[in-house]
């Protein structure tokens, strides 16, 4: 099979610089997808990292895990490794955030906490609209790793839970409702759903819910 260009070019989601061939993603996404930066090749040695964060779940199609090494004196991220289960843009977005967090000597934890999905998307040269949710997860995994670092070093006042956000717009469930459900003993997604009805008509919020359950379980029960 040989490929010649059709007389009428299909419109790609994101147009490439050279405009000769359409691909689903920008050249930068493609680069980070096929040559991911900073992913964790071997399972970590004890002490190699001092903050770990996870977000998402494979059941929902995306899961990111982030390992950071923070210099305790400067609170700068000096190493950032990751693993991602997900589609092309999910992998590229995690790769890109690892670059953003460690470039120019590394961001401080306060700076790193402010990285937002839009910055990742911009640095990737854009993403198709339906792929935005993928890149929205990697910054959350990073913030979880930052919280984990503060928890380990005992700076509990610096842990920022992603407070009072509307998680499910349809069922009107906030993260506080989920926190309450977990404190009252709900341990699984099903149990939390029984109490809050979160995501029953809107499965797209489930990755966020599962992450919050994990977060609050750690917070209240250390489990």
């Amino acid at each position: 099979m040989n490929h010649t260009s059709p007389p009428i070019q299909p419109t790609p989601d994101v147009t490439n610089q050279d405009k000769t061939k359409s691909w689903f993603y920008s050249d930068i996404v493609k680069d980070h997808f096929f040559e991911p930066r900073n992913f964790l090749k071997k399972d970590p040695e004890p002490g190699q990292f001092n903050g770990i964060g996870t977000y998402g779940s494979p059941a929902c199609g995306d899961e990111m895990r982030v390992w950071i090494k923070v210099d305790p004196k400067t609170e700068k991220i000096i190493d950032f490794k990751w693993r991602t289960f997900g589609c092309g843009s999910a992998i590229a977005a995690t790769s890109m955030i690892s670059v953003i967090a460690t470039e120019n000597g590394g961001k401080t934890l306060e700076e790193a906490r402010k990285i937002r999905p839009q910055e990742v998307i911009d640095r990737l040269g854009g993403l198709p609209a339906r792929k935005f949710h993928c890149s929205v997860l990697c910054d959350k995994a990073l913030r979880n790793a930052i919280n984990d670092y503060y928890r380990r070093v005992g700076f509990f006042d610096k842990i920022v839970s992603e407070g009072n956000r509307m998680i499910d717009k349809i069922m009107k469930v906030t993260d506080e409702d989920i926190e309450k459900a977990v404190r009252e003993g709900a341990k699984t997604l099903e149990e939390v759903q029984e109490k809050t009805k979160v995501g029953v008509n809107n499965s797209s919020v489930l990755p966020a819910v599962e992450e919050l359950i994990r977060f609050y379980k750690e917070k209240y029960f250390n489990s």
Partner: protein
């Protein structure tokens, strides 16, 4: 780079012989008349349509006037479901289908359920993706007017026992002195491989299209048994006996008839060839790559379908890595659509979502060679390994291995 196209369940390349047959109706030289016109060019176009209709009817072993041309599989399915259900509204309001139908069947069914007050039963499948005919029979109620079960599934390629289901429905009708339920099957995926003899299938309506049988896209057929009334979706100039108004796609009709003739003529030999390739491909993937699983029955499947779950990785990422190697496959994973939901077909098999997300469909075709399969078998293990190395997920065996 050499390209290996393994997505024939989505679309097939046009057979050059089909193109040749269609050419005269495209080139604007002679055969451009409107089939409804009352002059010689119009009559010529009309004759060509009727000749095509007759050829198709011969293959289906039915009468030419039972063949209605549509714009494709989607329209045929919609016409069958919406058309029959609405025409029979005063006879009953219960519809039956399966959990693994194509969206072109499921969506009109769900529409009728949500907006027009029909009741809908969806029959589950076994973990191998097969529908039990007895389950269909059990679901029939006195007010059941319509049953639609696909002949072969578009994702996992499983072949359903249509003749058996048709038989049971006919028996039910006899015993209950009822004309209903009517039985429809979507044969879009099956028409290139299986026998379409209506008298053996015991169906009342049957859908197929051109795009899966090396014919043109945008053309399809709905077989409607004589005597069945249905409400049209399109009203206008009364073409196709008033069931489907609109100037006929003459070239498409000619191409569809030619394509069906060719695939049906070649199917025995081609099936034999593909089954050997398919089984070799499946065996080697499962042998060479750990944590893989075949979805759908091993033997009751289309000769060209290989559907595999690769644990711990996500389907779209795998698809794009293969795309970069010039290997074109398809995925039912969430990221190809707008929702986070993996394919309803894979979930219907009872597989957990994390397994469903890592599934790929390879669908072979006339041009697929053993060398192509060997190339894919060389590329695939490395690509899977790389994606697994960047994945944090380790799905446990108990969730996916079928003992």
């Amino acid at each position: 780079m050499n390209h290996i196209y393994l997505d024939h369940a989505a679309a097939t390349p046009l057979n050059p012989q089909v193109f040749e047959a269609m050419r005269y109706f495209f080139d604007g030289k002679e055969f451009y008349g409107n089939p409804s016109s009352f002059h010689t060019p119009g009559k010529e176009a009309k004759d060509v349509i009727e000749k095509s209709r007759k050829n198709i009817a011969e293959i289906l072993n039915c009468r030419p006037d039972e063949i209605i041309f549509t714009s494709g599989g989607t329209e045929s399915d919609n016409l069958a479901i919406l058309g029959v259900a609405r025409a029979l509204k005063d006879k009953g309001n219960h519809l039956i289908t399966s959990t693994i139908e194509h969206h072109a069947v499921l969506e009109p069914m769900i529409f009728l359920e949500k907006k027009e007050g029909y009741k809908l039963t969806r029959i589950s499948v076994t973990e191998d993706g097969i529908i039990d005919p007895e389950e269909v029979l059990k679901a029939i109620e006195p007010d059941t007017i319509f049953v639609s079960i696909m002949m072969a599934n578009n994702e996992i390629g499983t072949i359903q026992p249509i003749a058996e289901i048709g038989n049971l429905i006919q028996k039910y009708r006899l015993e209950n002195h009822s004309e209903f339920p009517l039985f429809h099957t979507d044969a879009c995926q099956a028409s290139g491989f299986l026998d379409l003899d209506i008298s053996k299938l015991h169906v009342d309506l049957l859908t197929f299209n051109g795009s899966k049988i090396y014919g043109p896209k945008g053309i399809g057929v709905l077989y409607i048994k004589r005597g069945i009334k249905l409400q049209p979706l399109l009203f206008g100039g009364g073409q196709e006996k008033g069931i489907r108004a609109g100037t006929e796609f003459v070239a498409g009709i000619v191409g569809l008839a030619k394509a069906l003739e060719l695939v049906q003529k070649e199917k025995v030999k081609e099936n034999e060839r593909l089954i050997i390739l398919r089984d070799y491909f499946i065996t080697e993937i499962l042998k060479r790559i750990p944590k893989t699983r075949l979805n759908g029955d091993k033997t009751k499947r289309l000769p060209n379908n290989v559907h595999i779950s690769f644990l711990d990785i996500e389907g779209e990422a795998l698809l794009l890595y293969l795309d970069a190697e010039g290997i074109y496959v398809s995925t039912g994973s969430a990221c190809t659509s707008t929702s986070l939901e993996p394919s309803h077909v894979i979930l219907a098999l009872g597989l957990p979502r994390e397994v469903a997300h890592g599934s790929l469909r390879f669908s072979l075709g006339k041009g697929t060679t053993k060398e192509d399969i060997d190339t894919v078998l060389e590329v695939l293990p490395g690509v899977v390994k790389k994606l697994r190395s960047i994945s944090p997920v380790r799905v446990e065996e108990k969730y996916w291995n079928r003992g």
